[in-house]
């Protein structure tokens, strides 16, 4: 089977720019000084016809990987191949076969209409106007944007814009499509339309590959044939969502809802606790804790620790592992 994407020891280091241009990066611990290793010796193989997901927290290196594969960024070291061609040495044949859509991007010109904008981008790929227009009209219907076909782009809502971007991605009929958080900020219906279309596109057309990054576990679980979990530029695991969840079967997942806790640092030291995450619903008074336990007996220690802090347990449940639990177990924090 052919590989759509292959990387070997792919590494990308960003060195900081000169002072005046320094922009603050989103490191949690103010890690903005010095070089950043966005990708750290990544070995990845994505097969032809696969819908492959990249799952990782902010700053994990997902976008960096996609940019390298889209021939927009050079690797610092290592090799990246797309459709069999090296991204550094031979970008042109790659560019003919790929396209990329990022969530929240603003592409094109506000004065043009939706149709004109997408048409313009199709011309950069040499698609004949007739073909392009036929595809655009079909996609406008598919994505529910037909009424906005002649609206100026600057008057589109951000969700409508995002649908237009998706159409831009499909209009060139790429073999490999990179989707960087394509459903970011979209409502439930719009996300659904996009997911369904992406899925059917890969499944019903031969030789189409999608590499998708997302923050939504459900999306990854539902869509992807295989997933890579990535953190700090390293691939932690690559497998099907089912297999990833199965790995956790040896471990137990508990969910608790408690009054706000003063200190959560001690949970990590309880024997049998592999990892845990904490979510507080903004202003709400309850905190949600998820524990991945190697030893189920640890739950009694957890309960006494909560009680010792004077907090009350509102809910305690043992659950089947979700993809999110896999993520917590590997990365040590939750995604959303």
């Amino acid at each position: 089977m052919d590989l759509a994407v292959e990387t070997q020891q792919l590494t990308r280091v960003f060195t900081q720019r000169r002072k005046i241009f320094r922009r603050r990066r989103n490191g949690e611990n103010g890690e903005s000084e010095g070089p950043v290793t966005a990708l750290d010796h990544v070995d990845l193989q994505i097969r032809d016809g696969e819908l492959f997901g990249l799952l990782g927290p902010n700053g994990a290196g997902k976008t960096t990987l996609i940019k390298i594969l889209a021939t927009l960024l050079l690797p610092t070291s290592g090799i990246a191949k797309v459709a069999g061609h090296d991204v550094t040495k031979d970008p042109l044949p790659i560019r003919l076969k790929i396209n990329m859509v990022s969530g929240g991007e603003s592409s094109g010109y506000g004065l043009l209409t939706t149709r004109e904008n997408v048409w313009m981008f199709s011309q950069f790929y040499g698609v004949s106007s007739k073909t392009a227009k036929a595809r655009i009209d079909k996609l406008l219907h598919t994505f529910g944007l037909w009424e906005k076909r002649n609206a100026k782009v600057r008057n589109l809502s951000s969700g409508q814009r995002q649908k237009m971007n998706m159409i831009r991605g499909f209009v060139t009929d790429p073999d490999i499509l990179f989707l960087d958080e394509p459903t970011l900020g979209l409502d439930v219906n719009a996300s659904r339309v996009i997911r369904d279309y992406v899925k059917s596109w890969v499944k019903t057309t031969a030789g189409k590959t999608v590499l998708l990054t997302t923050h939504y576990m459900m999306e990854a679980d539902e869509l992807c044939d295989r997933l890579a979990i990535i953190d700090h530029g390293k691939i932690l695991a690559v497998d099907t969502p089912e297999n990833l969840k199965r790995r956790l079967k040896k471990e137990t997942t508990f969910r608790l809802e408690v009054d706000p806790l003063k200190d959560t640092s001690r949970f990590k030291t309880i024997p049998g606790v592999k990892n845990f995450s904490l979510k507080s619903d903004g202003g709400a008074s309850l905190e949600k804790l998820t524990f991945i336990l190697e030893d189920e007996a640890a739950v009694s220690d957890i309960v006494s620790e909560v009680v010792r802090q004077g907090s009350k347990i509102h809910h305690l449940q043992k659950t089947e592992p979700t993809l999110e639990d896999v993520f917590i177990s590997m990365v040590g924090r939750s995604l959303e």
Partner: protein
């Protein structure tokens, strides 16, 4: 890959040029307010000079053919200014703005040639500015009652097109150079605007600078590599042949035309080389995209 793609590179790049020029050609003329802002307002700048020359040459006893020549001179210069402004402000900083808007990465990811990208920008700019320039010119001729002598229309067209290509070639080169600079691009353009405006002689015969002193000649030499200067001088020679007994012309029309053609080639080659180099640099440093997603 199962599907094999055969795209004719020439066809692809021609489509890309048209695609990239489209928003300028269609989009920019979509709002009718441009007629006022871009075509009528420039007349005010021209008018100031027109009235000065009126004052001089329409005094009792003055030669009225001079008045017509000087005013035609200024109207022509004022019209060409539109192209220069478009190159300096719109072309040069274009790639930088595309980067800010998030379009640049989509352009760079596409399989089109970089020259198709720049060429499309230039073509769109030329077309858009031409519509404005024509309105300004016609309005100027009408309002100020200028009489043009179009004895050699073919040569006039040739010089005009050579000037445009050289000017936009320069714009393409500047666009590539500005790519790596952020907001400094603006300062750079602002810095260049006035001096080049002066030495291009939009509102006076360029040779007049020579009279200023020893440095006048040096300035003239520098001015000669700016396509606007040469083009304008050649156009004026062709349209107002006997002006001041030919004393104020820079070089012969033929020579100016030849230099313009050379400049076209030089600027286009430089644009290509510098964009290729700077693209590589940007890809290495992670600066092709400004948005951090």
């Amino acid at each position: 890959m199962t599907s094999t793609r055969s795209v004719n590179p020439l066809a692809l790049n021609l489509r890309a040029v048209v695609g990239r020029a489209y928003p300028r050609i269609i989009g920019a003329n979509r709002e009718p307010s441009w007629v006022f802002f871009d075509a009528i307002l420039p007349l005010l700048g021209i008018a100031a000079y027109v009235f000065i020359y009126e004052g001089f040459f329409r005094a009792p006893g003055a030669d009225r053919t001079f008045a017509n020549a000087m005013i035609g001179f200024v109207v022509l210069g004022g019209t060409m200014t539109a192209f220069w402004m478009n190159v300096l402000w719109s072309m040069a900083s274009q790639l930088y703005w595309e980067k800010e808007m998030g379009n640049l990465q989509l352009y760079m990811m596409a399989p089109m040639s970089r020259m198709a990208l720049l060429g499309g920008m230039a073509l769109g700019g030329m077309f858009m500015t031409s519509t404005r320039a024509i309105v300004t010119l016609v309005a100027g001729v009408f309002v100020f009652g200028v009489h043009f002598d179009l004895a050699n229309p073919l040569m006039i067209l040739a010089v005009f097109f050579a000037t445009l290509v050289a000017l936009y070639g320069m714009g393409m080169m500047l666009a590539s150079l500005y790519l790596l600079y952020g907001r400094e691009a603006w300062h750079m353009s602002a810095l260049l605007e006035e001096p080049i405006f002066l030495v291009s002689g939009f509102y006076f015969p360029i040779r007049a600078i020579e009279g200023v002193g020893a440095w006048g000649r040096a300035v003239l030499f520098g001015a000669a590599i700016i396509p606007a200067t040469l083009g304008l001088d050649a156009l004026r020679q062709l349209i107002f042949p006997g002006f001041f007994g030919g004393k104020f012309w820079l070089l012969s029309v033929e020579l100016e035309f030849a230099i313009l053609v050379v400049l076209c080639v030089v600027f286009l080659v430089l644009a290509r080389v510098s964009l290729g180099y700077l693209e590589m640099l940007a890809k290495r440093e992670g600066r092709l995209t400004s948005r951090h997603q």
